[in-house]
């Protein structure tokens, strides 16, 4: 298939998708809209984790920390002064913060940049580590970030969190960010940088022997991943209107991990599908937690059951279906068309098979 055809198809899909979003935004009820928005944010977060964990093969579990940095930065930058005065009633606020009131777009970018900066600082010591050491060190740093947020009250309002953040994120913000991230990832993965990252994933020593600068490329991937996590966190803060330290525990990282593992470590389209699937399933499974009346028998809801199901799902997937939905493969236009062609051919064959006996009878 020609490159231009593919580009046109992609462009058409994006336009069609945003048209659908426009109508969804107009006619869907607010609850469903929030879920749709969350899907978009989770796409960004899933891709962010997939970049470092899936493509580069460096198992990082620090996403909640970077999200927290992004969310707090964006929240502090967008809150108008009077809201800030309302929030900091227990301790005085750090004065320079008082009059900051940026537009949302700049605040989100800044949230990403600050998270990327933290990623850079943390990456210097941590990226020398491998495998499970890296996992536990990044997990630890995420926890350190959380503990610092709880303790630096003039800057973050401590455990009380920030409330009444202007709610700006809607489906267009979330999915706009998601689509941009998808394009960024595709460009990155198909560039020479992407090849270097993949080579690090398959064998670090061989990659180094081929002249790939391990530390530089790992850092690149880690910083970019932190940036995206920061953006995701900022968007999430702008959607929920409140951020507090309990939001950014390991549970947050776990949810993103679930998305990435389900979709396939090392697949962009897999992460997108995983993000949408997990977000919707997460809401749909609320049924388990509320009582169900079947008419003749009433099943009591079990609060907390959702997370049991999700953790069980993660274990099942990793044991029985390790590569996830797409593994390392991608959903491409060629793939889709090939599939369509195959289906078509099968139908033709079946029609032929059917037509043969009837002609004999005739």
């Amino acid at each position: 298939m020609k490159q231009t055809t593919k580009s046109l198809l992609t462009l058409a899909t994006v336009i069609l998708f945003f048209t659908v979003l426009y109508f969804a935004n107009k006619y869907l009820d607010p609850y469903k809209l929030i879920i749709l928005t969350l899907c978009g944010i989770n796409v960004v977060l899933g891709l962010s984790m997939n970049l470092i964990n899936g493509f580069t093969g460096q198992f990082s579990l620090g996403h909640a920390g970077f999200m927290a940095v992004g969310a707090y930065t964006a929240a502090l930058l967008t809150m108008p002064p009077e809201v800030k005065e309302m929030n900091w009633f227990a301790v005085p606020m750090w004065p320079p913060l008082h009059d900051l009131c940026w537009p949302f777009f700049l605040a989100v970018i800044m949230g990403g940049l600050v998270a990327a900066f933290f990623g850079f600082l943390i990456g210097i010591p941590v990226l020398r580590l491998r495998g499970d050491y890296l996992a536990i060190a990044t997990l630890g740093f995420a926890e350190v970030i959380r503990v610092v947020i709880i303790n630096v009250k003039p800057l973050t309002n401590g455990a009380l969190g920030l409330k009444a953040i202007p709610v700006v994120t809607d489906v267009f913000w979330a999915w706009g960010a998601a689509v941009l991230t998808i394009f960024l990832m595709i460009r990155l993965i198909n560039s020479s940088y992407g090849l270097a990252l993949k080579s690090i994933n398959s064998d670090e020593i061989a990659a180094e022997a081929m002249g790939v600068n391990l530390f530089y490329h790992k850092m690149l991937s880690f910083v970019l991943s932190s940036f995206l996590a920061g953006v995701g966190g900022a968007l999430l803060g702008g959607l929920l209107g409140t951020v507090d330290p309990t939001m950014f525990t390991f549970l947050m990282t776990f949810n993103i991990l679930l998305i990435v593992v389900l979709g396939g470590l090392g697949s962009i389209t897999g992460s997108v599908i995983g993000a949408v699937f997990v977000t919707i399933l997460m809401e749909w499974l609320r049924i388990v937690e509320s009582p169900v009346d079947l008419g003749f028998v009433q099943i009591p809801g079990i609060p907390g059951m959702r997370m049991v199901i999700f953790s069980f799902l993660l274990v099942l997937v990793i044991i029985f279906y390790q590569q996830g939905l797409l593994g390392r493969r991608e959903l491409t236009w060629e793939g889709i068309f090939n599939l369509l062609r195959q289906v078509q051919e099968r139908f033709k064959k079946r029609n032929k098979d059917k037509s043969v006996p009837s002609s004999e009878v005739g």
Binding site: G57, F59, L61, P125, V126, R128, L129, G131, D132, Y133, A135, I136, A137, L139, G140, F141, E143, V144, V147, V148, I150, N151, I205, F250, F254, L257, V261, I302, P303, G304, M305, M307, V308, F310, S311, F312, L314, V315, I318, I319, Q322
Partner: protein, 297 residues
Amino acid sequence: MTLTEFLQHMANGVSLGSLYALIAIGYTMVYGILRLINFAHGDIFMIAAYVAFFGIGIFSLPWWVSFILAVVITAFIGALIERAGYRPLRNSPRISVLISAIGISFLLENLGLVLFGGRPKAFYRPPVFAQVFLVKGVAVQVLTIYIPLVTIVLLACLLYLVHKTKTGMAMRACSRDFETARLMAINVDRIVSVTFVVGSALAAVGGIMWSLKFPQIHPLMGIFPGLKCFIAAVLGGIGNITGAVIGGFILGILEIMLVAFFPALSGYRDAFAFVILILILLFRPTGILGETMAEKV
């Protein structure tokens, strides 16, 4: 700070450290053999506390029966987790096993929340352990003495098991090389199971003594001790049992002393262990007693 206060803090540090040591042993043994951070270890610790709690509270067993039962049941659960969650992945990339461990850890925590409820429960403290006596003006809980004693006795038993018995020799062989161990007619799966049984039993003892010392139990109580004890194991040199104990003691004492000397930093207590982890991994990745291993290509 007066000497009395210092001694008091020291006693606290030692008893906290020995709890860390007990849990760290489980990490270090599993890591030594499977090269896996058993994320579920901290939750096994929590399960032991709950089993002991229900034994006393619901089945009104005498406390010591309940404690022994808790250790046995927890050891069994530990082996079960290995069988169901880790063994099918024996030949998979290590990251898959790690993800499985994270999943199982979450599963246990959330099952705990569903089955036991999210509200903290008060753990029964038998009167034997509740006594307090004074040594030269230092108020010492009997527990503060018992906990390190139990740890040292268990450590001695464990060292005997690992260094003097056939099972122990097989364990050491497995930690070197699975394939070669198999060629020596060692049943690797059985040895891994034994490792999990022993590690979980020690975590169970740790969990029960932890609940005696801090008599409030909660389904998520295992997360932080779990992470910190892994750090203790790394500090001592992962794969080395004596190292894990030393690491546990150092971490416990340092943590108490940090809060004692710099009360302003007490909010950062939980972050402290991770800072130690980073420092260790940067400057002496093999830990205090660990041996350097060349990387195989």
